[in-house]
Symmetry: C2
Subunit: 301 residues, 2 copies
């Protein structure tokens, strides 16, 4: 089954303790669509400006991502500049230039409207809502967000949460959204906001999944070197949705396996800037890491 991914395609300028890169391919829809594509066909909906490098368009095409929904608008591409401290935790935003994103009015191509798996990657919750209004009978809708929307568009975010099945956010965002320091309390509280499943991404500490009568805790894969954490959460979400769309049935165990696959995809994303590492990843690499992960976590009776 195809996954419809809606979000941002951006040009990022990123400084880590190790290096700096300018105008590299980024954005929530970028990471998540490339990640999902390892498991399922992907239809991408996003907007870029006329300055968007052709090589990046080719990259999506070469990955087999359907880009009928990638609009090229007059103006400049959305840009984000961020800087990571030595702990590689939450980056400091140096600048955000919305550019073409400022006036983006999402239009879902006719051919995408029957998509059953919808991933609303991090973008203005009002745009996320507009997507859902154009989709008929989705099977599973997942949604991500960021601190900015919690701070500035909380009303719209809470509105969209009533319409999605799975909500993904990181631990800082979960604490911010609920005003709870304890993540278990936070997860349970968010369930009451509407989504059937809440996934809290804890980075190096793994993932917590909350659902009615289904709590799941997964440690992270052991990664010795993180080069650039940008896009880890989007890559996780993309892998998660792509894996679920590939599964024939949506059940508790496949949900857990999707979490593991999402987590493994994220480990590749953070090994280099932008999509540099993800680009060269093979299914074989993924399966090898999944196997290592099983060894890392398995307990026999």
């Amino acid at each position: 089954m195809s996954v419809l991914v809606v979000g941002t395609v951006a040009l990022d300028t990123i400084t880590t303790p190790f290096a700096k890169a300018r105008d590299i391919l980024g954005g929530s829809a970028t990471y998540s669509s490339v990640s999902a594509r390892f498991f399922s066909p992907v239809n991408l909906v996003a907007v870029v400006g006329e300055d968007f490098p052709k090589k990046y368009i080719s990259l999506f095409k070469n990955k087999g991502i359907d880009i009928e929904g990638l609009k090229i608008k007059k103006g400049k591409t959305f840009r984000w500049e961020g800087e990571y401290g030595a702990d590689l935790a939450d980056p400091k935003t140096i600048s955000t230039q919305l550019n073409v994103l400022a006036s983006f009015d999402i239009e879902i191509p006719q051919a995408y409207k029957n998509c059953k798996y919808i991933f609303l990657a991090n973008i203005d919750p009002r745009l996320q809502e507009k997507v859902l209004m154009q989709i008929s009978k989705p099977k599973l809708v997942a949604c991500d967000t960021m601190n900015y929307w919690i701070e500035n568009k909380l009303k719209h975010l809470l509105k969209i949460l009533k319409k999605v099945d799975v909500f993904l956010l990181n631990s800082l965002e979960a604490k911010q959204l609920t005003q709870c320091r304890n993540l278990i309390k936070a997860g349970k509280k968010i369930i009451n906001f509407g989504p059937e499943v809440v996934i809290i991404k804890k980075g190096e500490h793994g993932v917590l999944l909350f659902a009615k009568n289904n709590f799941f805790a997964a440690p992270a894969f052991l990664l010795e070197s993180v080069f650039d954490p940008t896009g880890a959460g989007d890559t996780f979400a993309g892998g998660f949705m792509g894996y679920l769309a590939r599964c024939k049935t949506y059940n508790r165990n496949n949900l857990r396996k999707a979490v593991i696959h999402g987590g493994i995809m994220a480990t590749f994303a953070v090994e280099d800037f932008s999509l540099r590492r993800l680009n060269s990843v093979t299914i074989r690499d993924i399966n090898k890491r999944i196997k290592e992960y099983k060894d890392l976590t398995r307990i026999l009776k």
Copy 2:
């Protein structure tokens, strides 16, 4: 098999965001011996002063802990006062009164000298070394420590690490000891200091175990309310050692199961001050939580 536990027995004064308690039973040997006792016989070696409340002596006795090695010396019992912030992270030490601990010269009772499972709970590494000099042919020696010894007795700590099989420490201590921000790098580095197995305790984020060709990551049990984190690490270590001593064989899988049992024991410790919750825990409570933990982490094929 019996576990020999050597460490501190203390009177703690603790302030959490929820409450304050004065002169309550604490200390590394206290938590770890009570925890280990759920799985194996325990021989306790520690020192207290003449002011040590008789009811606490009775508590050890009632738990079936052998206290031939608990010396009552002239003077006052070791006291620690600490305060936790709203995040319940690393406590601020308000005061430390060594009292009888200052001149404690460990003497292992004859009846303990053939103990096969030795747990050197958090105490001066010079005392930990003195214990090992009095023990003949132990099967497994585990050792814990704290930031104070890393800062002030590093040479002695590194010396004892060459003589132990399992070294337990928390994530802050692991970073401090290795000057590595990445815990995987830190764990691998500590392996090179001597111990065959290194266990890094991450509190609410679970545990990492490092050994040659055996890495293990375990998420924590989901605990909605933490009342007082004091003794969580000691309780973990006690459960870990008690469980291992009960196992007929020491192998990779039992090591992993011991980590899980240690982790579950710690969840009880933090639910109230001192031993108040641990005191009322039954084997049935433990098994129930172990079962819940399995549900929380299990993935079917």
